[in-house]
């Protein structure tokens, strides 16, 4: 009974302990939020902090159910970590299109948010990843600390848990 008593409150326990009832929506959202697999896709400085340091020994991303996948087809989450240039933007759009629904995007760092330090006097940097793909969570910083990446993934999980069942396909249009 230990596990069942710790289950989220929106699951109703039927006396006897063997059966749980919940809504399909809550069940899907719960499972989606708890195993976000992110794409192994670093662009610049933020990749070292956001993907490597966060995934390594001290910060341990795995405990949030976050595992990296090398292929976009297996990933739910794209962390755009770093400066996005015009040359790379086309490829990022292709990668985003290759991910299967439902999919989420975290824009990490100043460059991905709006160009950051490369906003002025720069001919090659796209000023914000949200110009080509929809973004769910923005993380400020140059580069953000691993803790802020963890915070962002928690925020994203919160968002996913509030989603309506029919909504996710519309959210990416």
């Amino acid at each position: 009974m230990g596990v069942i008593s710790k289950l989220p409150v929106y699951m109703e326990k039927v006396p006897g302990g063997g059966i749980l009832t919940t809504t399909a929506e809550k069940f899907f959202n719960w499972s989606r939020a708890s195993s976000l697999w992110y794409m192994l896709f670093g662009l610049a400085c933020c990749a070292i902090e956001g993907l490597m340091a966060t995934g390594a020994s001290r910060y341990d991303f795995d405990r949030f159910g976050m595992m990296f996948r090398a292929s976009p087809r297996q990933a739910d989450l794209m962390i755009v970590a770093g400066t996005l240039t015009h040359k790379m933007a086309k490829r990022v759009k292709i990668l985003y299109d290759q991910m299967s629904e439902p999919k989420y995007v975290i824009a990490m760092g100043g460059c991905a948010n709006n160009g950051g330090p490369f906003y002025y006097d720069c001919y090659s940097v796209l000023k914000g990843v949200d110009k080509i793909i929809p973004v769910d969570v923005y993380i400020p910083g140059c580069p953000p600390r691993p803790e802020s990446v963890l915070e962002a993934s928690l925020k994203l999980q919160e968002k996913i848990k509030k989603q309506k069942l029919g909504e996710w396909s519309a959210s990416t249009e």
């Binding site: 794409m39 192994l40 896709f41 670093g42 662009l43 610049a44 400085c45 990749a47 070292i48 902090e49 490597m52 340091a53 390594a56 020994s57 001290r58 090398a70 976009p72 770093g82 400066t83 240039t85 040359k87 790379m88 490829r91 990668l95 330090p117 490369f118 002025y120 006097d121 720069c122 001919y123 090659s124 940097v125 140059c142 580069p143 600390r145």
Partner: protein, 370 residues
């Protein structure tokens, strides 16, 4: 039964990257393959071209320092150092000795951190996941030291023209001493795991041999050229800052294969630790920076200054026209030349070896693209 008559093999093209875990960033390699054998390699770069040279023309000398952090984010201190050293040489600014020592301490700690990061990614390329976690464990210690000094973990903006921005806090020296005490043991630990590991030997010995003639011809630098038997380290050959005051060796190896390039970086970590130890012991008291006014203008002139960054020669060619902004800043980095020689050493290898060779050159793409 399958019809085998008329079956034929032909060469085919493979796009490796720009999104590929083993290209350490956004580099595309267009490969012409004959089965598993790589027949032709064409690197495509520029996916991280951030036009720092253009930006630098529109910023004052002090405002450029944060951008130099982002040229080589794995070793920001070294890129800072190259830039401020160049400007100071051009304008003949005297730097207090304490600042010089602090610069050397930070640059060498950053070299260790950069090599640790390289070890982590290189071994993960070869399929060994454990050293990744080990190397990051030690790297975090260095990040802590940087953080307590300048408040950032990756892009430090620590050095400024005429000195450094912040003095070290009092916790720094004990922490650094503690770290330097354990580091050689930890490097031994990596060596126990890797150096004589049959799988690693099989993947690296005799693979991707770079002869010394070829290394010179392709202007290679850094650990890549020292693994090919060329004793070339700017810290010794053209000492800058206060490097001439320290006693350290330059590890040189002679086979030029992937294993040598791996071993040389481990040895360099030990040597860097020696330098930091000596610098901490000899750290003089005094000012940390010379006052340089905000509206500072160097006189007309130009300078070409290079330093030894973890990935090889990093150089700045700065031209001043007498205003507070440089006329032109040209940045030369180690990875730019080291990536150029990849086709020369990796053709006619298996595609799995290409990953090992690419990893062993320690390419960081923002350094190539700038």
């Amino acid at each position: 039964m399958m019809e085998t008559k008329g079956l034929r093999t032909e060469e085919f093209m493979v796009n490796m990257g720009p999104q590929h875990p083993s290209t350490h960033g956004v580099c595309k390699l267009v490969l012409k393959m004959d089965g598993e054998l790589v027949k032709e390699i064409q690197p495509h770069v520029g996916y991280l071209h951030r036009s720092i040279e253009k930006i630098a023309e529109n910023r004052t000398y002090a405002q450029i320092v944060p951008f130099t952090d982002r040229i080589d984010y794995c070793a920001s201190m070294n890129s800072n150092h190259a830039y401020v050293e160049a400007v100071e040489r051009m304008a003949e600014v005297e730097v207090p000795e304490r600042a010089q020592y602090l610069r050397v301490i930070m640059a060498e700690l950053n070299r260790i951190a950069s090599h640790l990061l390289w070890l982590a990614t290189f071994t993960i390329d070869l399929g060994a996941v454990t050293p990744f976690l080990y190397a990051f464990r030690e790297r975090e210690e260095i990040m802590d030291m940087f953080e307590m000094t300048c408040g950032q973990r990756l892009t430090y903006n620590y050095m400024k023209i005429g000195g450094v921005n912040w003095d070290i806090p009092k916790e720094f020296v004990p922490k650094a001493k503690q770290f330097l005490k354990i580091l050689p043991g930890k490097v031994d630990e990596y060596e126990d795991l890797l150096t004589n590991n049959p799988i690693l030997l099989y993947r690296t010995k005799g693979i991707g041999v770079l002869s010394s003639e070829k290394a010179i011809e392709y202007s290679a630098s850094g650990p890549s050229i020292r693994a090919s038997g060329v004793r070339w380290d700017i810290r010794k050959a053209e000492p800058y800052a206060v490097y001439d005051k320290f006693d350290f060796n330059i590890p040189v190896r002679y086979n030029g294969d992937v294993w040598d390039r791996y071993k040389i970086r481990l040895d360099e970590m030990r040597e860097s630790a020696k330098i930091v130890e000596q610098a901490i012991d000899g750290l003089p008291e005094g000012d940390i920076a010379k006052k340089v006014p905000m509206t500072w203008k160097p006189k007309e002139g130009e300078v070409f200054c290079r330093i030894e960054a973890p990935r090889g020669e990093m150089a700045y060619h700065i031209i001043s026209d007498g205003t507070n902004k440089p006329y032109r800043v040209k940045i030369r980095t180690g990875s730019f030349c080291n990536l150029q020689l990849l086709p020369a050493i990796a053709t006619n290898h298996l595609i799995a070896d290409l990953v090992a060779i690419f990893g062993s050159l320690d390419i960081v793409l923002p350094e190539v693209d700038r």
